[in-house]
Structures are given as C-alpha cells and as structure tokens.
Symmetry: C2
DNA sequence: ACTAAAGTGTTACTTGCGGTAACTGGAGTC
DNA sequence: GACTCCAGTTACCGCAAGTAACACTTTAGT
C-alpha cells in the first residue's frame, strides 16, 4: 500500500473515468440528453454497474460531464473578460465568445441548459435543474467579481455588481437561447444590439408617436 | 347528438377538467414538480387513466397547468407594462410585478421554471424544458411588441426590439432566480439596481483604480 | 319498457429506466 | 497454491408512465 501503487491505481481509474466520460459525451451528443445509462454503458463497451461505481448515480455522471464543458466555456469567457481593451469592447468580446460557443456546439449547449429536450415526454434522462443553475450561477458570480473589481460603482457596489452580474448573464443566456432557435440575425448584430441595450440606448431612445413610451 | 346535449357534455367535461387541474395544482405545490400521476389522481379522488383521458399524457397535464399560471402572470405584467406613466416608472413597475409574483408564490415559480427540483435524482416528474421555454419566450415576445410599439428605435427597430425583449426578460428572470434563492437585498433595491443597469449606468460608471475597467 | 350508445370509472398489466446485490474470472501477493 | 482485490457480469428490485380490457351509470331512440 505504498504511494506508487496507490498512484498507479488512481491513475488507471482516472483514465477509465475519462474514457467513460468521453463515451458518455458521444452518446449524449448523439441521442440528446435523454440518453439512458444502458446506452452510455453500451457505448463505452461495458455495463451499467461500472458507471455507477465511477459516478455514483446519474446525477454524478451528468455533473462530471457538465463540469468539463462548463469549465471550458468559463475559461473562454474569462479570457475575453480579461483582455486588454476598453469596456465596451470587452463586453462585446465576451458576448461574442459566449454566442460563438453555443453556436458552434448547440448540442452541448442544449445538454447543459435544456436537458429535457430529446426525452419523449416525461422521463428526462439527466436532471438539469440541479446542475444547469450552477452554470448560470457561476457565470453570474464570475461576472460580478469582474465588475466589482474593475468598475467604480460608488457605495453599495458589491451588491450592485452581483445583481448586474446575474442580470447580464441572464440577458445573454435568454437572448442567446432565442437567437439559437430562430437565427433571426447575424451573431455580430446580436452582439451589437445587446451591447447597445447595456449601454443605455433604451433610456436614450425617444417615445414613438402616440403617447409616452415604454 | 344535437347541440344542447353536446354542450352539456362538454360543459361537464370542462368542469371536471378544472377540478382535476386544481387537484394537480395542490399536489404539485405540495410535493414539488416530481409529483407522480398516481399521486395527482389520488388527490383528485380518481385513478390514472382518467387523467390520461383528459390530458393525453403528463406533458399535456403540465402544459395545461402551466398555461393557467403563465396566463395569470402575463396578465399582471401586461397591466404594469401598459400603465400610464413614464418609461422608467413602467420598467420598474413591471420588474416589481414579476418579482412580487415569484416572491409570493415561489412554489409556482419553481414549478414553472425549475421542474426538476424535488425529484430525488434522475426521474423528474414533469418535463419543463419543453414548456418553461414557452413562458420565457412569451414574455420576451410580448415585451418586444411593447417596445417596438412605443419606443422609437430608428431603422431595424423590429429586430432590435425583439433582441431587447428577450434579453430584458432573461435579465429579469436570472436576477430574480438568484435573488429568490439568496435574498441578498430587498425587492425594491433589486428593482432599482436592474433599472439602473438598463438605464446605462454600466456605461456611465468610471473605471476603478488600476487600469481600464470592464 | 327494452335496448343501444356513450361517458366515467376501475383493476391489472406492460414497458422501460434508475439503481443494486450477488456472483465470476483474472491479476498480483505472500 | 491459497488469498485478496478489482473489473466486470447477470439478474434482479422498485417505481413511474402509459395502456388494455372490463364494469357501472346515465341518456337517447324506438
């Protein structure tokens, strides 16, 4: 039971785990989030109980799977957020990064955000609710930190930054979700429109003829 | 098979349907969205097949249930949106209406938005993904209409309004969800913070010491 | 009044999935 | 060679969605 042996075992277990995750990834991306544990096990060339030994339950498998993609996305966003540029440019870069990601891998996106699609009716495979929140929440918190860190908001700045962090992330998310479904305009246009919204164009715009506007 | 008989039957069927929906409502609000069809049927004092005769499948039941609450919420929002007041005031009133609604009936809210909570691990009862989108989408579209109708946005206004509609709804939703979970501040503060965000305070704020800000 | 139809309800079943218990076979260790 | 681990298997349990087939009650038609 010395260290090297233990490390060897752990290493092999980790490798197996990665293989299983990759198999799960393939299945989920092919069959949608309703993929059954049996199907995933089959894709990995093994049977169910092994999956359970590695991940505990379906939620565990999902969580591991989600963590990979979530971390990747958050990394990309952080890079855009930390780039040396003006604020507006960064905001646009961040929005664009997010939208490019969901555009490039809509399957992954739908898996992370809308787990139930692909399940026939009831019975969705993975429970997203418990884990999709984390993605949004983590994005919101990270953005809040960046805002708090870089923008001078006066008194109550911490709370304000958190509200804005979650709010902006939600805006990005909802707009992206809608855009992905309908493709009503180019990505660049969407980015500009959202940035304009954040830049107060709503407040600056005039009323339409016929009374006080929204 | 003349008209009066048919009407009578239909009326009775409609009444029954309402009763069943109310029972389902009670169960869902008590047991969370993981409530089983058996449980709902028991609450209504009948058995499963009747539910299936009325609603087709679990998704149908959910859709009917969601429609009620969705319509109610949309009605309230429309009222706030159409009130005779200045734009900022309306925005705040609408935000406050939404937040007050989710604060007053968090169970309903969670059912509409996070169906999977309450299910043990996998196996959530209702499939929200397919139906929660509708709520957000409807809110987004309605808001887009109001914006397009009342705010003068120059060329490309229709598309811009839709982007903003969905974006603002998403902002409200995400911020509300986070706020409901952590209660980090009063509702009024949250409303103010979000309205400030929409009013361009992010663009107007100065950089913090130490370089260009977000 | 007798029958037929149609709606309301039931019990009992199938299917399919998540999850688990208990067994099997092979690699390394003393 | 006996012992222990560990990957892997088969075979099962429980539970919930959904369905088929049967029973009761009302209403309409002749």
């Amino acid at each position: 039971m010395d260290t090297t042996q233990r490390t060897d075992q752990q290493r092999s277990a980790d490798r197996r785990r990665r293989e299983l995750l990759e198999a799960a990834d393939r299945v989920v991306l092919r069959d949608g989030p309703g993929a059954s544990m049996n199907a995933i096990a089959a894709e990995a060339g093994i049977t169910k109980p092994i999956l359970y030994r590695h991940f505990g339950d379906k939620g565990g498998l999902y969580a591991a799977l989600a963590k990979r993609h979530t971390d990747a996305l958050l990394g990309a966003l952080r890079a855009a957020l930390d780039a040396p540029a003006e604020r507006r440019e960064r905001v646009e870069a961040t929005l664009d990064t997010y939208l490019a990601a969901i555009e490039a891998h809509p399957q992954v996106y739908r898996f992370l955000m809308h787990p139930t699609e692909g399940a026939s009716s009831a019975d969705q495979g993975f429970d997203l609710g418990k884990h999709s929140a984390p993605l949004l929440r983590r994005m919101g918190e990270e953005l809040a930190e960046v805002i708090e860190e870089r923008v001078d908001l006066g008194p109550g700045s911490q709370q304000l930054a958190r509200v804005w962090g979650h709010g902006i992330v939600g805006m990005m998310h909802a707009a992206g979700d809608w855009w992905l479904g309908e493709q009503p305009c180019s990505r660049a246009e969407l980015v500009r429109s959202l940035a304009d919204l954040l830049w107060g164009r709503l407040a600056a715009a005039g009323d339409r003829v016929g009374g006080p506007g929204f």
